[in-house]
Amino acid sequence: MELWHELMEFYIREAWLLDERRFREWLDLFTEDVFYFMPRRLNVHRHETDRELTPVGDLAIFEDDKTYLTMRVERLETGMAWGEDPPSRTRHIVGNLVVDPQPDGEVQAKTAFLLYRSHHETEENLFSGYREDLLRPVDGSWQIARRTIVLDSNVILAKNLSVFF
């Protein structure tokens, strides 16, 4: 339970960093060798649900390393990343945490999320999904070494995914 509380606080803090647009601090939550991954989610029959999520090696929606993530954040800082300038108004609601400590001290952690985004005057998106993280203990804190984000969508009902998950 102690680990669960500790990680729940970690995820709540992360959500506030994103919603308060403190993206540099958010970036520091990831290890240098992070793999930030969002597969595509296919519409398939029940007996073929092993094909539902595209594996690494197929075309993914996100397949970022630390450099790509850094480029995304630095782009926003130029003041000319027009897809996010003016910026989106977001609210990350994270919960349903399940923790699975590994023998090597790392932790698998799964969370569900709702991400609300409002942009410009009247535009709205609601993204629902879950994240599976591999958390690594670093200097008395946690860092995300791998994040898999699965949206509960087939065709994404948004003009872009210029916000972070």
């Binding site: 897809g83 535009e123 994404i156 948004a158």
Partner: protein, 446 residues
Amino acid sequence: MVAVDRKHQIIDLETGQLDRRIFVDPDIYAEEQEKVFGRAWLMIGHESLVPNTNDFFHTYMGEEPVILCRDGRGNLRAYLNMCRHRGNRIVRTDVGNSRNFACAYHGWTFSNEGALEYVPGDEEAYYGALDRDCLGLVEARVDTYAGIVFATWDHGAPSLDDYLGDARWLLDVSFNRLDNGTEAIGPIKWIEPLNWKTAVDNCSDNYHVPTTHLSTIIVQGRHRGIPRLTHEQQFQSENKHLFVNGHSLTMRFLERADQVRQTHGVTPENLAAFEEYYRATLPEAERRLGSLRTRLNLGNHSLFPNGVLGLRLAHPRGPLETEFWHFVVLEKDMPDELKTALRRGSANYNGVNGIFEQDDMDNWRGVTESGLTRMGRKYTQDLSMGVGHDRRHPDYPGVVAGRYTSESNQRLFYRRWEQFMNADNWEDIPLEPKAMDYEGTATLRG
């Protein structure tokens, strides 16, 4: 041939003025579905998406849901995804493998060769009176170019070869370079709040890049070692902006024939491996494409009507909405390490989250929506850049703009749209005959 009444006059080629109503008018949109998407050869997928017999891939021709499949004999087929009984969709998944398609409503079952094979109660409920032979799946004409699958509903349409015309002369340098051809992965699918034509006409818009994409150009220079692109470079560039038989192309000269073709996904760390790949494949490419074409690179481009940079599709979903499909096409022979770099680069730069493409959406939306208001419609859109400087060029196909940065292709794209919209049938739609020298062994089929 019947003289065509030019009902749609939306672009003035002398002044570059464009009528904004074409982005928002529901009647024009409905007519486009018939006269553009009902007639043109449309990209619908890639052979590699259905590699085995009985594989199917669900796709679209404009708004029409379409089953692309490889039948039991290995032939590519494309069917309207509609049960001939009540009209329900007989395929409800993105992909699968099946010899037949059974409707989930009443059980009518069609073979993947299109025949209505089974009807529950054929004898009893229908008294044997149902003419099953006339109730097969509605089938489109299918053909392929270098593995990319095209289809058209119009049986009066010219061949795909003639439809592409001399655009293929240049497309080959990207899609038809090697004997083993290409494979496609994807697509990423999302909904853009804009008219499909705004995404298409942007394909030749070199002008916007240093402004729209400046933030990414800056960080790309910082982290990927790619020199900063400026307006000045583009204005002075010797690269070409050309319009061939309805298709909008931009063409770049390679400084060296083994130069790396891509920018998205190339890093200082993998640059040498890419160069080695292009060096190693050069003799094969020269044998297939000849020496002149081996020194050309395909830049941004669009195949008429709704291609957006290669096999990426802008499917219309109403005047103000577009379903965008992002595939990545890779040369099969490319080492896995480089395929991975291009796959990641392509999605990260141009996918739904792409750090280039995410900045395009609001611009295209703004262009689309400018036609919604009374005052906006009063003022034409200005596409006058480079008017009067187009010409024919002895070495290159089509209409070649005076400069690499021009709105010539955009003007001609809307003229092509007019030609489709104003035609009674394909007889009224002009086609430029092929005139280029296709040096090398590459053919339409690969």
